[in-house]
Subunit: 261 residues, 3 copies
């Protein structure tokens, strides 16, 4: 890739220090890109909203912000009117529509489709091919696996739009569908292929079509050591802020910090 060579950056965009922009990438008006961020080739950042096509002359692009130290992989399309924190990462061919507010240290996998008007907290990972319907609200440290869909219309088609609400630390496994307005509790585990039609309590494993309560996640054995794998934060630290110090210590420190703020 030749960076900063054959790309098309609006004069009304604000580009940070040491930003690299790949071939054929377009950055539209009113986009702000943080320092040290890489936008790879063939991306569109600040894609104009639908209204643009019907008011070509009077249209003004709403602000879009991509935090520092981010990496947007090739062929991704990010609409105007969205905001992403620091250390944001995407796979290839990601589509993110307007009014998507995503925190720090999140990653969105290849082919994922974020429909806009959603919030995602910090340290979330959406793997490849995840579909997030409008009005979804996703907490912190949530991992969502391939081909999961968060839906929002309880009586299709209707004018009601009820996004799912996903609690902190929840894990939503491959190919599951979360029905409109469903709440997934903190630390819950939704098994692969589950069709979730009822709220899921904290710390619960659900499986099946329709999804049924199976057990507490603490009953799921680890494959790596004796005892339970869940809550997973005690057994997984890749990319997580607790790193080598461990979740328990980190949580204490973090809670102290929080109470001081």
């Amino acid at each position: 890739m030749k960076f900063n060579h054959n790309c098309n950056i609006s004069r009304k965009a604000r580009i940070g220090k040491d930003v690299l922009v790949g071939d054929n990438t377009i950055i539209y008006d009113n986009v702000e890109v943080g320092d040290n961020t890489i936008i790879a080739n063939n991306c569109v950042i600040g894609e104009p909203l639908s209204s643009y096509y019907y008011s070509l002359k009077s249209y003004k692009n709403p602000p879009t912000k991509i935090g520092p130290n981010s990496l947007v992989r090739s062929h991704s399309i990010i609409y105007a009117g969205s905001s992403f924190g620091s250390n944001f990462q995407t796979g290839h061919r990601v589509t993110i529509r307007e009014h998507s507010f995503i925190g720090d240290n999140c990653s969105i996998g290849t082919l994922s489709d974020i429909q806009g008007y959603i919030t995602i907290g910090n340290y979330c990972r959406l793997h490849s091919n995840v579909h997030i319907g409008q009005k979804s609200r996703i907490g912190n440290f949530v991992f969502i696996y391939p081909y999961v869909v968060l839906t929002n219309d309880p009586t299709p088609p209707s004018n009601v739009c009820l996004g799912p609400i996903i609690g902190d630390y929840a894990q939503i496994a491959t190919g599951s569908v979360i029905l409109p307005g469903i709440k997934i509790g903190e630390n819950a585990l939704v098994g692969a292929g589950a069709i979730v039609t009822r709220n899921v309590a904290n710390m619960s494993l659900v499986l099946g079509n329709p999804a049924k309560y199976i057990c507490k996640v603490t009953e799921i054995k680890s494959r790596e050591k004796n005892g339970s794998h869940y809550p997973w934060m005690h057994n997984f630290n890749k990319g997580m802020p607790w790193g080598q110090i461990g979740y328990t210590k980190w949580l204490k420190t973090n809670l102290i910090h929080k109470s001081r703020n």
Copy 2:
């Protein structure tokens, strides 16, 4: 986007009045684009069929037609030999193969994959990431939600190709799979995640894996008012031809028009 600037339009294409074509878009031979249509950036319209690669010199591109007042969003690939009515819309990265015949006022969502040799009526909406297998036949006013697949091979792999048949006004919810040759009745509702292995009668709700009959759709309550949400045409008019006059009145007028023709 700069329109009509850095695109590549065959001299053998016929482009209507006030058509806008985005950067890096290619329009091949024998494509006809109706008036006031917008083809966004990085699209391929009239993509040559597979035989092209094996007969580069003698190949002739079959005709492709995109109706007036259409909007094809960026990175979409539309093969030659297909036809789309007026007010056609696509999301991004749509792939539509040859011999796809789609009526007026239809939209095809981001990442959807239409395998060709299919028909779709008028006022149909395919949301993001819908997969339509060859030989599928879809009526009018059909809505299909994300990650639905219409399959066609009853004994994979075989030489038998039986597309599903979807009746008017049917709603096929997220993540369901319609097995080969299955008929979905008019006004039927296929629930999220249903694996549909038997024909579905008119006005029926089916759910589950395998999908089972649950009740008449008229038994499903509205979230917006007293009474049933279905048939949905009485409770939803966004983009529908009955608009504010209501479905019942529109139907009467429409039937009069039809009988006069």
Copy 3:
């Protein structure tokens, strides 16, 4: 498409005879393309690995090999460090990550996402939108249908990565999910929408969520003739090496060849 015109081929790539490369395609360092291969427009071949972004100056691209007589359709991204045999074909917008080793006569459908560190044998067909998790091992003559996912983390999230193992001649139908480390036997048939949580024996049909054993595949009737459709090799030869001579004869000849080598 204008071939070999507006593309960007590294001087450190080795391009065979009569290779055609489409507009806007990038071929990076250390890529080898076999004779008579076509790489269509807007592809990226030899995409640098993630480490590239963090060591722009010292990075060296690992070798990538695409066999002769191949056809890579437009907008596909193939990472460096992978290898594909002869007669390789892809659909559009395929993503294949590093350390994917794929044999001869294989095809990978539109939008499929191969996560890398996998092996696929000869004569395999992945249809549109198939997701292959890391560490998957797929035999020969395996067909995988749309929206199938091969997963690999048994306790998400964890550091354990157990890819599924798919036996020769197995058929994995639309929308099924294969759980981590699961073995699918030779000639098995996984039905549409199956969530496969246990190993599947040779010649078995499984269906449902969770998938259950239904019968031997030999009990499934053909739609084209009297008797069983399975093992399918006796009833399907499109693109298969036995062609008109039939599977039984081919197998004998092939076994003789093998024993001589």
